[in-house]
Each structure stands twice: as C-alpha cells, then as structure tokens.
C-alpha cells in the first residue's frame, strides 16, 4: 500500500485531503466514506463513533457524524451533497475498527450523492492523492510513525 509520511494512502480511493476523509465510489452509484489512517492516528484510540442515520441528508463540508477518543471529538465531514443510505453499525458497536481498519471494516457511512460528477472534481485520487496528502501532512507536521 502506498504511504505518505508513514500514513497509509491507498491509491484506488478518492480523498478530501484537508478533511482527512476517503471516498470509495460503489457500483450502485453510492459512495462509502471514512476517516483516513492519518486521521485515526491523530485522534488516538477511538472510544465512540456516532454516524448520522440512514435517510438523513448531508451537505458537502458538513458533518456526517462524529468520532471521539479520550481527549478528542471530531466530525467526519461529508465530501458530497446527498443522502446517507447506511451507517456502519459495526463501528458504533466496536469503535476500535476505525483505528484498526480505517479503509475496510472501519468505514463510516454510505451516501447517495446528488451530484457526484461535480463533487468528485474537488477530490484527488491515485498518485496525485499520495503526493498531495504527503505535502499536506508535511506542512501540518503529521507523521503516523511518531
């Protein structure tokens, strides 16, 4: 897996780098989103995950729910306008999944975007994503090995 400052950054995903959010377009037109490896590293051991429920509409840049560690509470910002179609009940029951498998079992919510083509334009993917993320993490002084 490709890395940026020792944080995992899978090239097949899309990213909103500044928000530490990853996006995976699904075959059914929905997207799956989650917090990146860098984000879970910053947050530390996560104790509570509170994704918004299915049926809730979300705006791009607004919260799709929150995650909490001992000293930290943060929103996971929706990368698109749309409607939440599923919340990951597994992370509600076991928030540690967000730390252990941020790109897999630790996904956060699935959203049906209202305009994926337009919102996708603001994201990065592939080698570009890794380069951009690396630059951002360096600027912020974030390193997952620390």
């Amino acid at each position: 897996m490709s890395t940026a400052n020792n944080c995992n950054v899978p090239e097949e995903l899309y990213y909103v780098v500044q928000e530490h959010v990853w996006v995976r377009p699904e075959d059914d037109g929905t997207i799956t989103i989650g917090m990146t490896d860098a984000a879970q590293n910053l947050a530390g051991s996560i104790v509570t995950a509170t994704p918004k429920g299915a049926g809730k509409s979300v705006k791009k840049g607004k919260s799709s729910g929150t995650v909490e560690s001992g000293k930290w509470v943060g929103p996971i910002k929706s990368p698109v306008d749309g409607e939440i179609v599923a919340a990951n009940e597994a992370v509600v029951a076991n928030p540690k999944l967000l730390n252990e498998d941020p790109y897999g079992a630790g996904w956060f919510v699935k959203i049906r975007p209202s305009n994926w083509a337009a919102d996708k334009a603001g994201m990065v993917t592939g080698a570009q994503a890794v380069a951009d993320y690396e630059a951002f993490l360096k600027a912020q002084g974030i390193d997952c090995a620390k």
Binding site: K62, W72, V73, G74
Partner: protein, 360 residues
C-alpha cells in the same frame, strides 16, 4: 476549520470560574486556538453583569453574612446566583471567527447546548435572541462580549438550581417581593434535575456537549491545558475583580428620584424596561440639558465600551425626546454597536423617563 481547544477545568474556586475566560481572552494572540472552557465553581457566589450597579442588584449584607463573594463579569446581563450545579460553557474565539451578527452568533453558540439537552430527552429549543426554553421555561442564560482580540460567548448547562438562594442574593424592595421572585423562578425556570427527575452524569453531559460542538462548528475538539501566560493573565484579572474600584464601578448616585443640587442643577434617576433588559439612567441635569449621564442595567451591548461612548455622546443634549432620539441615532450610525432587544427608542425612553422625575 482548525482544531478547537477544550480546557476542561473541572471544579475551581468561584473567582477562577469567572476570571478564567477573561484571562484566556485577554491573553489571546493570533496563534491561540479557538477555545471552549468547561468549568464549574466549587462554592456558591453571586455574579453581576458588566453594566450593573452592584448595590442596586445584590443584597450585599446577606452575601457578606453568608460569605458569598460577589464578582462583576465583563459580560452584560443580570445578577445571578451560581454554584457547582452549573457547568459553564465559555467560548473564547478569535475575533471574526464567529458570525458577526449577534443574533446568529448566539444561535450558533446555543445550538450544541440545545442538542445536548435534547439528547438527554429534554425538549429544549432556542428562543431568540439568546435564551434556551423548555416548554416555556428558561434553562440557563447566555451572554456575549469582546475582550482584547477575542470574541467571548458564555452560558451554562444547568444540572440543578437553587431558586430560593437566587432570590435571596438579589436586592429586593420587600420580603413579599422576594416570595414572588421565588415563585416566579419556580414557574419560569427549569433545570436538568427538574426535567429528568435527577441530575445526569456530568462526564456524560460533557462528552455529549463536545460532540455537538464539533458538529455545530464543523471542527474537531481536543482537550488541552491552558498556557502559563493564560494563567498569569487570569491571575491579573482576579486581582482586578477583587478591587473595590471594579466591584463598585457604575456606583455613585444611590438616591432615587430627584436630588436638587442648586437652583438649576438636579440629579435624576429613572428606569425603562426594554425587551433586551432593564436600563437604569442616572443623570445630572443642568439648565434642562444632560450634564452627565450613567446608563446601567442587565442589557447586552457590544462592544462593551459603547455604553460609555453613548453616555459621553449624550452630554449637552437637551432633555427633549426629538433631540435625545436624534443624538442616539447619530451614535448608532457612527459606531458599529449592537444591543439586541435595546433600540435607539429604548435608550430615548430611559433618558426621557428622567424628565418625569425633574421638577417642573
């Protein structure tokens, strides 16, 4: 938005519970993160609004007898009784980071408070401009101020409230009036204990509040510690809050009605109830013109020094409604002052109420 710092101070002495947000605000530099302070006093005390006159609002003899300290905050609003059953939620943000319009600023500040109550099963709603209501009853109050380069908004989560002591620390004209105040507080105020049958767990409420702040502000919150400089400034603020000069600010003329100084000079005092609070006007009138004016009360005005500027601006104005309203209007036009629920007409009404006291 960058990470918001949370200072979870726990229980601290009464003086510190007021001074801390002033200290963090006045110590603010461009590098200081926006900060939310969570704190409760470890003992009861009385606290008066920035524009209030201490001896008019609080029963100082009773407070002295009970060892209850009285502190003036640098935020408007009224006199309140405070103790460990309230968790203060004090926002100290970089100037212009919060909405400029005060009504919108209060709405943002109140949102996580309302959502925290709702999560606990309490039917709380925002009642503009800056109150939170539960089925018609008020649950806590809020206030805003500018300090140094910071915008400050304060309020609380009400676990429980001692209505009788609140009524006891207030200065009232009679004991009968005090009974009426207790009755009114009981009727028109509520708390988490009252709504839920018992006060909820503090740590649980704190976590819920932080989560709703992260949602409302769209930024992560992280618990950190205050800096040495912030604590140093807080101590300086504490010294100021203990000084008589600060405590008795706005004091001076204590008589009611009119006092004749000589044939053409009178001291007058009057009050007017505006939607945004009670305005007390105390003036020296010389040959029908305002020679000196003090405006006090539980209103909110930003920036706070605008009240002093308004007092100054009224000097020399003839005590006639048109002249007073015109000058107040000029003041608002020349200064970017905000006073929710207190209009130019309200200031004019308070000042013109003086005329009713003046000998004809």
């Amino acid at each position: 938005m960058k990470t918001i710092r949370v200072l979870d101070m726990g229980l601290v002495p009464p003086l510190r519970s007021q001074a801390i947000y002033h200290g963090v605000a006045y110590a603010m530099t461009p590098e200081t993160p926006d900060t939310i302070i969570l704190v409760s006093p470890d003992a009861p005390y009385a606290c008066i609004g920035y524009h209030q006159e201490l001896e008019k609002e609080v029963d100082t003899a009773y407070c002295a007898e009970q060892g209850l300290p009285i502190y003036r905050r640098e935020v408007g609003g009224g006199a309140v009784y405070l103790d460990s059953d309230q968790l203060f939620t004090q926002w100290v943000f970089q100037r212009n980071r919060l909405p400029l319009d005060l009504e919108r600023r209060f709405a943002l500040y109140i949102q996580p408070l309302v959502e925290t109550y709702q999560e606990l099963g309490i039917n709380a709603t925002l009642r503009p401009v800056n109150d939170i209501h539960v089925n018609g009853r008020k649950i806590g109050g809020t206030g805003a101020a500018q300090m140094g380069s910071a915008d400050v908004v304060v309020g609380s989560l009400m676990f429980d409230f001692n209505f009788a002591l609140m009524a006891r620390v207030l200065k009232v004209p009679s004991e009968k009036m005090r009974d009426k105040i207790i009755q009114s507080l009981n009727e028109y105020m509520t708390t988490m204990r009252r709504e839920l049958g018992e006060a909820p767990d503090r740590a649980q409420v704190t976590r819920a509040y932080m989560r709703h702040c992260a949602e409302a502000l769209g930024a992560p919150l992280e618990i950190q510690e205050p800096t040495a400089r912030e604590l140093e400034v807080t101590e300086e603020i504490e010294a100021r809050f203990l000084s008589d000069e600060w405590r008795y600010m706005k004091g001076g003329l204590r008589q009611s009605g009119a006092v004749k100084i000589h044939a053409d000079v009178y001291l007058l005092e009057a009050a007017h109830k505006a939607p945004g609070g009670l305005i007390r006007a105390t003036a020296r009138l010389r040959e029908g013109r305002i020679d000196d004016l003090t405006l006090s009360g539980d209103f909110t005005m930003l920036p706070a020094f605008a009240v002093g500027a308004l007092e100054q601006a009224m000097r020399g104005v003839s005590l006639e409604p048109a002249a007073v309203l015109a000058r107040v209007g000029e003041f608002y036009a020349s200064m970017n002052a905000q006073s929710p629920g207190v209009s130019a007409e309200d200031w004019t009404a308070a000042i013109m109420a003086l005329k009713a006291q003046a000998p004809q």
